[in-house]
Subunit: 380 residues, 2 copies
């Protein structure tokens, strides 16, 4: 499937019209691992009741982080308990450094201390870190117990909570250990975004724009005049935008659950993003910010390699800049980026599956040597 041109918006089921719908639901079609993503507004307690019923577990571990726990865990817990579950809250430290093997071991210990068994389940409440770590613990505890995700960041809502990727980092790199473990459901309350700092909101918006850029020109065009309203969290824009973004990711994942080919399109911007993050030691720069820079690089490279018409990159750059995202590289020598992308785990046989745009709303994968991705003439 890799390398095939995608018609804009084909298969995406999210609707962009409607006057501020308060609720939305879309399915991720994965055979007997299919599940629904449900979006709503100020409905954490209802989410709890639904999640508890969906999991039908007598005992739940609610894995979350301190800031989110304070604000949202009580309401969600009330719902989970009303749904018939006994809830054990497990709070892990915030930040990507939490996604490691020793934190995972602590989660297993907590699961056992709270008496979780094969009839128990996990609920993750928070951003991508909590979803990845808690999801991987669920994937491997007693060889796998069910879980649901309640994402509270834009990034987790539109990206991390769809596709079943769970895992932890090693010192040598991010997401080097993990499993595919599909959640039984994803429940989104967009009201939880209010407490998200503006900078993180912007970073999360990068992945939303990515989905539009690789898959759906209609969505991209719809988003352009509404991006400020989105960042201001106007529900009439946020609900349909998240719904469409989730639908795109769900569509890609449903067609390619185990990342054979098509799913690689979601790596648009990520080859260089990973290199940037690595050099920043995963500090000082947010993932979405690195992705924004990586997308600009990939879009410009798509034009110079002749894959996309002139003007594609500048249209993408303009939107990213209005979000307040960085678009130019941290100043490092080419050799530093080159060595970082050369160890990228997507590398196969010396070549890298590099995602290029064929225009706004269409992308494909091309196999390139690191030196062809970053030509000698390139400067940060």
């Amino acid at each position: 499937m890799a390398g095939k041109k995608r018609a804009g918006g084909r298969g995406a089921t999210g609707r962009l019209v409607g006057r501020g719908r308060a609720r939305a639901r879309l399915g991720v079609a994965l055979g007997d691992r299919s599940y629904d993503i449900e979006l709503g507004h100020d409905w954490l307690e209802t989410i709890g009741r639904r999640a508890a019923k969906r999991l039908a577990a007598d005992r739940l571990a609610l894995v979350t982080v301190p800031t989110v726990a304070r604000r949202y865990a009580p309401m969600l817990t009330r719902g989970l308990e009303a749904g018939g579950a006994r809830v054990h809250r497990i709070v892990v430290p915030d930040g990507d450094a939490t996604k490691n093997l020793s934190q995972l071991a602590e989660l297993y210990d907590a699961f056992l201390r709270h008496g979780l068994d094969r009839s128990s389940a996990v609920v993750t409440l928070g951003g991508g870190v909590v979803g990845d770590l808690g999801g991987f613990a669920a994937a491997t505890f007693l060889r796998g117990i069910p879980f649901v995700q309640v994402p509270t960041t834009i990034l987790a809502m539109t990206d991390a909570s769809i596709g079943g990727k769970t895992g932890v980092n090693l010192e040598q790199g991010k997401n080097l250990v993990g499993a595919f473990h599909q959640p039984r459901g994803v429940y989104i309350d967009i009201a939880t975004l209010r407490s998200l700092p503006r900078r993180e909101r912007a970073a999360g918006t990068a992945e939303l724009i990515k989905h539009a850029a690789i898959w759906d020109e209609v969505f991209f065009t719809w988003l352009e005049p509404r991006i400020e309203a989105f960042l201001d969290l106007d529900p009439r824009v946020v609900v349909p935008a998240l719904e469409r973004s989730c639908a795109i990711k769900a569509d890609v994942v449903a067609r390619d659950e185990r990342e054979g080919g098509l799913r690689r399109l979601l790596n648009f911007g990520h080859t260089l993003a990973h290199a940037i993050e690595k050099h920043a030691g995963y500090r000082d720069i947010l993932h979405g910010e690195a992705v924004a820079i990586g997308m600009v690089f990939a879009a410009e490279r798509s034009e110079s390699l002749g894959f996309s018409p002139a003007g594609t990159a500048s249209r993408l750059i303009a939107l990213l800049e209005r979000v307040g995202l960085p678009t130019s590289f941290p100043n490092r020598p080419r050799s530093a980026y080159l060595s970082a992308i050369a160890v990228d785990k997507k590398k196969q046989g010396g070549k890298i599956h590099f995602v290029v745009l064929e225009g706004i709303g269409a992308a494909k994968t091309v196999a390139l040597a690191p030196g062809d991705i970053l030509p000698k003439s390139w400067r940060a």
Copy 2:
């Protein structure tokens, strides 16, 4: 499916006749995760070539233990290299204590140090510990890379290498963390059993007898006059016996890959075996020895509860005793065993899925409270 009576031998495809066939092959039918088990004699180099071709990986981690590495790794490696792979030998300490999270982390480090990526694969050479640990590392490294098993113990050949169960122990108990990850192939060289101490050979034979006892009276009856020849490793008995034993396990697994019900029959004898092992601190007693005692307990309990005709238990006991396996309990108070089986991870809703015999070659699962499994009158 649990609780259904099984007709003896139904579905088992291994053949028990033939004059010392040197090779055998049987399939494990799991849809797109199907694979073959191949048995042979003095053919490690051929195994290597076949495994390398099956995996089609340019780089392989050969995970093994010191004793096995010395004897068999050079020959297997020669074959793997002849099959086109670059082989990195990773030797982990022997013994069940090796199956832990810190050893797992060391495996990930070794994989990265040797440059393994998504196009690489793992070969495990050794007993169940190596298969479980190496298999779980393969299941989770980069969210899963392929692996094959080359088991060198009877237990690993007939039990651990079929079914895709991989994992590690936690301090709190065995196999509390893991994943289902089917191998791409299982390659058995029965010549590797020659270096197995007599006591371990006997312990492994316990699981072979278990397969006959729960599933296949024809096999049990065939085995009775041949058990000494089996223990002496007469290939004319070992090849067909292992083939039949593998076929039974493969048949059960194919019908119930994720352990919904039928697969629980394989836990025959294990409820008490786990309790015995726990009290022994997983030392001094081999798993198969504990299973032998547990099977005797379960068979006698099956009779006293009226599930099987009189004489069933004594026939099983006679065979186990000829193997030299223990059949009576280490002397501990009932309360000690009771608390150990009460935390058994197969417990659901206060009851335990306890496997009883309905006669030699037929078993079913019954849900019993711990106090009904070990009645007040019981003494070790």
